[in-house]
């Protein structure tokens, strides 16, 4: 069978030194840490994002000429994992840093890089992902939003949905049809940048089951944008979007969403836990230690330019399942689990409930569990 390889990687001293700096920064900025979870989507705080930009911790791996730090993927990983573990509000800049920026670096034109990347690095310019549509979920190639070339402009019509933070972000990069669908459904797709504040897209918030209003429906009715907004080459959208998703899948945000529940669980159980409590704590830890190392292995493969599509899907599959398991394990540890009133009104309970309500999204966003298992099966040579 094809070997799935997760290399042994030890982070270097410089990276560990950076970790200490991030921890100091986190301590100095505690006023920004209000959310009771470590989910990467829920904490939106532009002021905090700008502070990270000043530190040089956004766009860390990008070339200096675009405002980047030219640092390693390991440096970036350490910054992101420290912030998530602490429950930092990172959602404002998260997508731009993780996904949109790398996409523009890989496929964008020189003008696009110069125009968009410096603002992202400063923590001032925020991006949304325009992939899903009302009739397009996992079957991404079925998108119907169209961008028709008319002279020097594209005319965009259609609807994107589940678009995190479109109501407050600056740009959305949409997967659109620039040619009608043919037999090869992956042809004729392109990615186009739309200015959410200026181009006339209509944004309607969608309240989620946790009460949050992070995601939206974005409607384009004859939205006209200049033709230089196409990312890379017209018609190359499918290849671009697939590579973009690999970046999205293996980072620490795929197994740390429920981490604050673990912290409060350990606090609740105290220094001398019962045997059962200690067993639960150890079980959770054994998963985190392993997932974290697998994620670092993937960062190492990205660093050396390897194809990580399958390995990244594997980390996300394991990580998302674990993020859902964690609160399930945590709720059972009081003398009578959560029916024990000692949990009432404390941070453990609040963190648990907050994370539980977000948990259905863990195995949906960035590719559903079912899609990921398909990606893994393909990597195993089964399709």
């Amino acid at each position: 069978m094809p070997a799935l390889q997760f290399d042994r990687i030890a982070l270097d001293a410089e990276t560990e030194n950076l970790r200490e700096k991030v921890r100091e920064f986190v301590q100095e900025n505690e006023s920004h840490f209000e959310q009771p979870n470590s989910d990467f989507v829920t904490g939106h705080d532009p002021e905090f994002s700008r502070k990270l930009g000043e530190k040089g911790w956004i766009g860390m791996t990008w070339p200096a000429k675009y405002g980047g730090g030219e640092r390693s993927n390991f440096n970036r990983l350490v910054v992101t994992e420290e912030l998530l573990a602490a429950g930092a509000p990172v959602s404002a800049h998260w997508i731009a840093d993780r996904q949109s920026g790398p996409l523009l670096l890989r496929f964008g034109t020189e003008e696009q890089r110069q125009k968009y990347l410096p603002g992202i690095c400063r923590g001032e310019s925020y991006f949304s992902i325009g992939m899903s549509e009302p009739d397009t979920g996992s079957d991404l190639a079925s998108v119907r939003t169209s961008a028709i070339l008319e002279g020097d402009n594209y005319r965009v019509n259609g609807t994107k949905i589940w678009t995190t933070d479109a109501h407050r972000n600056d740009y959305i990069i949409c997967l659109v049809r620039t040619q009608p669908a043919e037999e090869n459904r992956h042809a004729g797709l392109s990615q186009i940048i739309i200015d959410l504040k200026r181009d006339g897209a209509k944004v309607r918030p969608i309240k989620n089951m946790a009460g949050g209003e992070d995601f939206n429906e974005v409607v384009f009715e004859d939205v006209v944008v200049p033709k230089d907004r196409i990312v890379g080459e017209s018609g190359n959208g499918w290849a671009q979007v697939t590579s973009e998703l690999a970046y999205e899948r293996s980072g620490p945000e795929r197994f740390l969403s429920a981490f604050r529940v673990f912290v409060e669980l350990v606090r609740f159980c105290g220094p001398d836990p019962t045997q059962y409590q200690a067993t639960v704590i150890g079980r959770i830890a054994s998963h985190i230690m392993t997932l974290r190392r697998m994620s670092i292995s993937v960062a190492g493969m990205l660093e050396s330019g390897k194809d990580v599509v399958v390995e990244a899907a594997l980390v996300k599959e394991l990580g998302n399942n674990f993020e859902k398991l964690l609160p399930e394990l945590a709720r059972a540890v009081g003398s009578d689990g959560f029916s024990d009133f000692s949990h009432d009104s404390d941070l453990f309970r609040r963190t648990f409930e907050d994370t539980m309500l977000l948990s259905p999204s863990f195995t949906l966003r960035g590719g559903t569990r079912e899609i990921l298992r398909g990606v893994i099966a393909r990597g195993l040579g089964l399709r």
Binding site: M289, R292, E311, E317, L318, A377, L382
Partner: protein
Amino acid sequence: MDRSDLTSLIADSAEKILSDFCDKKLLDQSEAGVFAQELWDEIRSNGFLDLGILKEQYSSQDLFAFLKICGRYAAPLPLAETILARGWFPDALLDESGVASIGVADGLEVKRVAWGRSAEWLVAINIEGSSLSLFRDFEVVEQKMNMAGEPSDTLKIGDPVSLIELKEEPFAQMALAKTNLLAGTLQSVLDLGLLFATDRVQFGRSISKFQAIQHSLAVVAAEVAAAQRAADAAVDSIGSDRFIIEVAAGKARVGEAVGIVAEQTHQIHGAMGFTHEHQLHHFTRRLWAWRDEWGSESYWQRRLGEWLSRQGPDNLWASLATPG
């Protein structure tokens, strides 16, 4: 020859020997109580029993990589025991060619001794202790077998030949050995699942084309990948002050993978995998036996959890986020 050349040379020659010898017939004979002497001699003459003793020549990574390969072929011999015991008692055992096995001390008895009936030397370990004793004088009190049909005997001991203290808890070292054996066996079970699903035709096509089967195998592959990484991390902690913590995480995580991988792979194999004639059970029964030997998941989870609880909630992340 540089290090990586030596490492791959060890792996290649181990693969060659074990794939030549470890067929279904040998595994069946072994379960009938026949010691695989020819395989033992081949392994000994190729120097593998010295992996723990010649510390200048071989690294601990070489040793545990060899055990992973032993796990992949379900090598039916007390190799982990003999290799570790020789490393612990080099003066007494360097020139010995027979089995040195290991068990858990319980008063005047030593329990769960792998191939105790064939052992010439015996090491008794205390759970969570650092001391261990070497015996030449012992007798078999009771012959038993584990779920995999491997001898797991109770021996009565006389006076020890030698008594030493180790920096790294011997019980945990054996857990690390089992962790790597398990990681190797898990890989084989995945491979068997992929092979069977590809070959087996139902409803006019290979069952590997059914989404339900593909998803099962994806889950199995994810668990197997996690097990490999967890086992490697535990090996890499040898010599560091995190040794116990990393072995705890490794044995616990690999043990958890066992439950999922064995269950799903048997389901994929259908009734054929439930027969004695099929080879799958030689691997899955080892998985089930070994996950409980030298500390089950709950044992190691508890030790890891107790340690983390002492570090406290505000040091939790720092206790997990290691450089390596």
